[in-house]
Amino acid sequence: MFDFIHLTIPPAPALFAQLLVGLINGAFYAMLSLGLAVIFGLLNIINFAHGAQYMLGAFCAWFLLNTLGIGYWPALVLAPLIVGVVGIAIERLFLRHIYRLDPLYGLLLTFGLALIIEGVFRQQYGSSGQPYAIPPELRGGRNLGFMFLPNYRAWVIIVSLAVCLATWFTIERTRLGAYLRAATENPVLVQAFGINVPRMITLTYGTGVALAALAGVMAAPIYQVSPLMGSNIIIVVFAVVVIGGMGSILGAIVSGFTLGLVEGLTKVFYPEASNTVIFVIMALVLLVKPAGFFGQAR
């Protein structure tokens, strides 16, 4: 009955290639989980709609291209802005009312939102998905010797690193970030200093959503732009954030890269389990160090 567990060992150059591919995926996970970490870290909301917002970003890029003729490069800026505004609307309409409640209600509410967004898009667009091509400037690739690296994948790593660094820097090293962190710990006091806390909270949620949408635009040329793309990936992103430490930006980044690598290796040695290995790690981390590698006990 247990003969489904079997391992395969590949030759060394192939292993380097797999590690690089795993790293690329990890960069993508890190960028995708940033928004979630920001929202939970600063607002204490478990944003289950993150996957749906990622999907909105991809669809927005597709829509801009097919209806308004706006290509990939402007879409990288426009789509996150548009979806960010939607995020702000969500915050104003729904989330505002449940801050005083248990974060698990936030999870249930955003889960409901995700169902609605996904259902509406599925009704409208079916599930096969829409084509979105890699922009001409990024097509092709170069032969690194041990593998052929598509240019677009290299681009993904560069953008992910840049976005991760920028976000971390903003939250941890700038004044704005300091205000945000202070507002989370003691909103009344910070508001007494004259800082508009509700507006900051709204903008923070909007930024987290915009980050998800940015990841969506990045994904559109390589993954299928379909209404199901969010729900397929949301669980993985959750695991990344939990392992890194819910609320730690650095934790999300590091665990994103690490998990990408681990998943990549699993795809080589035991491919059928590559979806599940993340949960095994999540369970282990939760049992040993529940706050995650970088998180603080909240």
Partner: protein, 401 residues
Amino acid sequence: MRIAILTGVAAILALAAPASAEISGDAVKLGVLNDMSSLYADISGAGSVEAARMAIADFGGTVNGKKIELISADHQNKPDVGSAIANQWFDNDGVDAIVDVPTSSVALAVQQIARTKGKVFLISGAASSDLTGKACSPTSVHWTYDTVALANGTGSAVVKAGGDTWFFLTADYAFGHALERDTSKVVEASGGKVVGKVRAPLNTADFSSFLLQAQASKAKIIGLANAGGDTINSIKQAGEFGIVEGGQNLAGLLVFITDIHSLGLQAAHGLQLTEAFYWDQNDQTRAWSKRCLDKMKREPSMVQAGVYGAVTHYLNAIKATGSDDGPTVVKQMKVMPVNDFMTKNGKIREDGRLVRDMYLFEVKAPSESKGAWDYYKQIAVIPGEEAFKLPGPNECPLVKG
């Protein structure tokens, strides 16, 4: 008191049992059960319901003086939802035949229920060859295509054209395994060799790692034993990693025209696949497809065309026998040859399999296409007997001994 109630119920049930040479419930009721909202909504979904409606209208709306009714429901690709609906339809709603049912796991469940209740099951969407193999039923007809035909079509044609080493990229679920197994047998029987395989979890988004393994195997052909979103993603990413430029070719084992529509010709051109129908094959198919295009705003898939053919043949069989009793009608369907816009001189085998010609297509390059849905060029016709030839003895108990 309870005895009285139970006796009454028993009496009613006894009275409701249909007599044989009669149409039960004073109408012939068809139920189109498929995926309306998810993975297979585009190849079946509302389009299949429309196809069934067209078939009923073209037949005249009544058979032997009784009205023909149509209902539909979404099984969400889940066997329990499908079983619940099938049970309710057969027990409560007077449905005589269930039509379509993509997703083999649901089809197997519904076939079991239909067999137990003696009701007809016209399969168009599902692919598993087990439906006419070890799970076969005397009240089912497997109409459009199956995994054997896909394997014989794409598999042997590709090997004959020179693609004799294969690497399989398989979706890790029962259907993916079955597709891989059937195609491997055909490849090896045609003189080819399977040099490796990798199983990716269902709904994998990123195939780069698996494609790298396929590249490393140096196989001439990478067989995609998956469906839906997985096929689309693997083809798209294969383009990214320069698989085709590197000298390897992709063989899509289960690809529909809607998948190509979703991929775009840029990503998909050169792909070889087997289908049972294409809207642009001849005047008859074009005429019928135009009616679908007008109603549904998309060209029909082979599954939807198959629904039309199956419903028409079923209604003709009822007309001939004067009864809608499951086993009787299906027996008649096996006697009558099938001739419609999609199938010429088709014959239904004893195990319920419709033996019909299949077609090997290649996806056009963007420059060769005149517009939306103009995606295929026909490379070869695979005659029915060859397409549906089983690799081993027929496992269906209706045929053995």
